[in-house]
Assembly symmetry: C2
Homo-oligomer: 279 residues x 2
């Protein structure tokens, strides 16, 4: 890869505050080796590099990372967790999956349930869906008017600024799949006894609003992509590429944090003598 | 392995309510293949079987598993997480590491902080140290009198009965290492720049009470090993064996839960037709 920056490669580039997703090819595979080499790397060399980079985060117990996975049904949020997040030390990983808010959650501030699942110092937290659902969905369903949407967007930007200021690095991935690929993945879910449990009829209803969701994602991402918390558009039609890309992106972000193992002041000679004495 | 039951193999067998740890060899490697085959299995075939068995738990979203890791410093609690727990889908795993309780934690019931970290339905939670510290340590430090200890033991047994009744399978592993092996691991930590952050002088003080801790572990485990939540004594001097043993034990426990993928009632033909219509 040499001088390829994955952050540059995938960074969302809104025009006039709007991200036009139609301009991003979900089948794109830039900078990639062959499919089989990419798969080997995700299970091998990249897994090890990711483990090591994350172990530094975990050891330093100061900063944290929030990986936000957004995308339509079947875009690969869970696949990313199962194939990429799995490489890291579970002691320093926290995952949270956000469904439609419960009655009780609806009565509190919309950001509250996300605040409760943030990474602690030293952790990488994964949000499988996130606070972005609270604007993307109402925008499609027109549950909120323009002022309501804009107000939530402002609150999200404030929230992420706050996270940034306290040392949380955000990696916001928009998993970008095509209409046809989604259909194929739904059909596969229906066919397989061990996948059918993930299927819900509501997912097919959502699919009928494909264009509205693309527009909503683009509008929201366009307004929430500052330098300290940019969106990355991950081409996700090829699972192997999505995994390879996100593993590389995470490694790059962790490396750029410049972390080091804490070196406690220890009187090593004295400790060694104490340890070697027969109790 | 055929008809080897890992639950039988490692099950703690207290005599008159006391577990005599001196009767358990930390270097024992029963039923194991060669070291290199065991290591390959933990990263390969066993990792896959564990992933699959846990995925059923995650999909069924009803029952849960609580893996309790107890053992002295350097006994391999974190190593077990890094090498065995890492095999499972992070979306269905939750880890919690318990240190000396904070001021605020000390003011609430001792079980409270553990209650807050229990597995949700479908999850496997890992406790790196656990509610057992709240009797093992006071027993050594004589912070609680006999009645105080016995009262906490009763509360722990009630707590675990409650967990069992609501469908949480407990896997309580006592990672059993020798005095000499602990010394070697401490010395290795001191030597390595990337391990020294785990070292604390207090650990050496604890080591000086080795026999008291062995007795305390044995007393506590002896009183808290009912059929529905038994202790397993894992020989832990060999890291490769510890990992291999715990992976097998977890697979066996998960398999014995008899879980199946939920099969939602879906009108598959109609859904297929809806999916194949061009929006």
């Amino acid at each position: 890869m040499g001088d390829c920056s994955f952050r540059d490669l995938f960074r969302a580039r809104p025009l006039d505050g709007v991200l036009n997703l139609a301009g991003y090819d979900p089948t794109w595979t830039p900078a990639a080796p062959s499919k089989s080499d990419a798969k080997d790397a995700v299970e091998g060399a990249l897994a090890e590099r990711l483990f090591d980079a994350h172990e530094l985060l975990y050891a330093s117990k100061e900063r944290s990372v929030l990986l936000v996975l957004q995308g339509l049904d079947c875009s690969g949020k869970n696949g990313t967790i199962k194939h990429v997040v799995i490489s890291m030390n579970p002691a320093g990983v926290r995952t949270a999956s956000f469904k439609v808010p419960s009655e009780a959650e609806r009565e509190q501030h919309f950001l509250q349930r996300y605040r409760e699942r943030l990474p602690e110092p030293g952790q990488l937290a994964v949000f499988d869906r996130s606070h972005y659902e609270d604007v993307i969905v109402p925008l499609v369903h027109t549950d909120l008017d323009e002022d309501g949407i804009r107000h939530r967007i402002d609150e999200i930007n404030d929230f992420e600024r706050e996270l940034h200021d306290r040392g949380t690095e955000m990696v916001k991935c928009l998993l970008h799949i095509s209409f046809d690929e989604q259909r194929d993945r739904f059909l596969r879910r229906l066919r397989r006894d061990d996948k059918r449990w993930k299927f819900s009829e509501a997912d097919v209803d959502t699919r009928r609003q494909w264009n509205e969701f693309q527009a909503s994602y683009g509008m929201v991402a366009g307004m929430t992509s500052p330098d300290h918390a940019p969106w990355y558009v991950i081409p996700a039609d090829h699972k192997w590429y999505r995994n390879w890309a996100i593993a590389n992106l995470l490694i790059e972000v962790l490396d750029a944090m410049g972390l080091a193992y804490p070196q406690p002041e220890l009187d090593i000679e004295r400790l060694r003598a104490r340890l070697e004495s027969p109790n």
